[in-house]
């Protein structure tokens, strides 16, 4: 990672006595990085963003921007700009006035503002839209204007609060690519909020998965997707199945785990769980293979099967009642509900999660 651009240190925030929105979170973000805060609604990601923007004061903790403590600074004194979820374009101003507002506040000469506004409009592919009012624009166009308005100040960090949330799927895809391109071109640090894991994986350099006011895991999209650290990350990002069992023994770089209906091998990934220690495995549904001859893997009963877009989705029930979902292309479609099968997966596809939590619970 390059130089640190923004740093959050032990940020705590609560809006009422009984509910803590952010529990001492810390995060360090590099210059020019595209980082996504991913989490379901109410996880504290918007509050984190508002604290960075200065729109909310943390109860404790500090925000550093380029090494300077900006915790006490009001939003107007921070070199950070925000693209709001609902765009927040000023309805009484034209597109040009909206985009040029930041420069006007800095007392930039009018001719210069005009030039920079039209450059910005060029950049977001809306040339010639200066005279329009926000009400005359489509959702996608408003979005572009909001981005242009925030970027014209050349912020050190651009904050984007679910900026594509109100757009339809097709437009979202296009805007995702455009935003990513824009960010690469300008080299500005982007902090992006979304609850859409696909969007996060597509766009980010790093993803910080948030849950209940803490970071569950911070890492590259590959790490988050293929090596989730917690069962929350595994289910939220990868729609993984969670299997609880007991560690038996290490077999090289793998560990044997006994589960309901049999035992399996899982990649140890450097972990050395003690014998009989409880372990949790996360296996994404596309990695679960069914065996109708019932020879390999865990004994299970087929509960339900359905097709969704060429994808066969089979719901299984293990002997202890744990539900397992297997879905993949070209899966053997001959299984029927009520049938007994076994299911298995390659050891490298089974990830040990919640290791810290479990070792913590034991000690």
């Amino acid at each position: 990672m390059a130089d640190t651009c923004l740093e959050l240190k032990n940020i705590r925030k609560s809006f009422s006595k009984d509910e803590t929105v952010l529990k001492e979170i810390s995060l360090s973000i590099g210059k020019g990085e595209f980082i996504t805060l991913l989490g379901s609604s109410g996880c504290g990601k918007t509050t984190t963003l508002r604290i960075i923007a200065g729109l909310e004061m943390p109860d404790s903790g500090q925000v550093f921007l380029d090494g300077r403590d900006v915790t006490a600074l009001p939003p107007e004194a921070r070199d950070v700009n925000t693209v709001f979820q609902n765009y927040a374009l000023f309805p009484h101003m034209t597109v040009a006035d909206n985009i040029g507002y930041g420069l006007k506040l800095r007392k930039v000469p009018k001719a210069e503002i005009k030039k920079r506004v039209s450059q910005m409009l060029e950049l977001v592919q809306l040339p010639g839209y200066e005279k329009r009012k926000p009400s005359e624009l489509s959702g996608g166009q408003r979005q572009r204007v909001a981005i242009a308005r925030s970027l014209i100040n050349n912020p050190k960090v651009l904050l984007l609060d679910e900026p594509l949330g109100a757009l339809d799927l097709q437009l979202r895809r296009i805007m995702q690519l455009e935003l990513k391109k824009l960010q690469k071109k300008l080299g500005i640090t982007f902090i992006y909020i979304t609850h859409d894991q696909e969007e996060a994986i597509n766009m980010s350099d790093r993803i910080a998965v948030m849950n209940h006011g803490t970071f569950e895991q911070i890492g590259s999209p590959d790490e988050i997707y293929n090596h989730p650290k917690t069962s929350y990350v595994a289910t939220f990002v990868g729609n993984a199945n969670i299997l609880k069992g007991k560690a038996e023994e290490l077999e090289g770089d793998k560990v044997r785990v006994s589960l309901a209906g049999g035992s399996v091998l899982a990649a140890a990934d450097g972990n050395t769980p003690a014998k009989a220690a409880p372990v949790t495995l996360a296996v994404r549904s596309e990695n679960i293979v069914l065996d109708e001859s019932c020879q390999r893997g865990l004994l299970a009963e087929v509960v339900e099967k359905s097709f969704a877009g060429g994808l066969l989705r089979v719901v299984l029930k293990l002997t202890d009642g744990t539900e397992v979902i297997a879905s993949r292309y070209g899966i053997d479609a001959s299984v029927q509900p009520g049938q007994n099968v076994t299911c298995f997966f390659e050891p490298e596809n089974a990830v040990l999660v919640d290791v810290e939590k479990e070792s913590g619970a034991e000690s």
Binding site: T82, A88, Y101
Partner: protein, 263 residues
């Protein structure tokens, strides 16, 4: 069904006739040649002429206009700031505070008038334009406060945050973003308040003092000594002005409504 709708149409017509006939009579007789409001003897503008050459009447009109405009301006500032302030506090007493702030609308005017008279007397304030201004401001503020409050409630709070985010201080954000957006509400509230100030008799009569008269007080006292066609002419003018204000008020409402839908 059809018969029914005919009947209800007739009923509606009857109500309108009963409501507006007296007004129509006043208008018609203001153009009457004869002094007696019994028979229409011919079209004439002489009562209007007489009205405008009546210096006492013109003075009263001037007083009313000055009073209406100044008390409206003062209330516009107080009401707007009050509404903005109310929208920012999150106290438990907020509901009560809001209720209290529009109470002057609900207290019977006669009580307000009496209370104000007693209060100004206690303060040793000479009765006249100043007491009238204070009195009218008191009952004008709630109109503006209510309108602006409603407008603020429908406004996206992130607009102000966006302005702050782009580098505007709190005052600048208010001036550039909030004020232009609530301006239609300030205007329509002020118009309503102005109309209320222009036709107030009850409160004014308690606090106007012996030498100062407003237009409604003048009309009221004249009527007691007998209706002249001059009063008819005055009423017609006031009616026209009221309708004009009402039209502007609706127009503002329509424009605002359209803007709000677009956001």
């Amino acid at each position: 069904m059809k018969k029914n709708s005919k009947l209800s149409g007739f009923y509606l017509g009857l109500i309108f006739v009963l409501m507006y006939l007296p007004i129509a009579v006043v208008i018609v007789f203001s153009f009457n040649e004869s002094k007696l409001p019994v028979r229409f003897t011919g079209f004439s503008l002489k009562w209007y002429q007489q009205l405008f050459s009546d210096s006492a009447m013109i003075e009263a009109l001037g007083n009313s206009l000055f009073l209406g405009v100044v008390s409206c301006l003062v209330s516009a500032v107080i009401g707007t700031l009050g509404a903005v302030g109310l929208s920012r506090i999150h106290w438990k007493t907020k509901g009560a505070l809001e209720y209290i702030s529009i109470l002057p609308l609900m207290i019977p005017e006669i009580i307000l008038g009496m209370v104000m008279m007693a209060f100004f007397y206690m303060l040793n304030l000479p009765f006249g334009m100043l007491t009238l201004l204070i009195g009218h401001t008191v009952f004008c503020v709630p109109y503006i406060l209510m309108e602006v409050k409603a407008r603020l409630a429908g406004m996206d709070p992130s607009l102000e945050e966006a302005a702050r985010d782009l580098g505007a201080g709190p005052f600048r954000a208010f001036w550039d973003i909030i004020l232009p957006l609530i301006m239609p509400a300030v205007m329509s509230g002020s118009l309503l308040a102005f109309a209320m100030s222009m036709d107030d008799v009850v409160i004014s009569i308690f606090i106007n003092g012996p030498r100062l008269s407003t237009l409604p007080i003048k009309v009221y006292t004249q009527i007691k000594t007998g209706v002249t066609p001059e009063v008819n002419a005055l009423c017609t003018i006031m009616l026209a002005v009221t309708i004009l204000i009402l039209l502007i008020y609706t127009a503002i409402g329509k424009i605002t409504g359209r803007n709000q839908k677009n956001n």
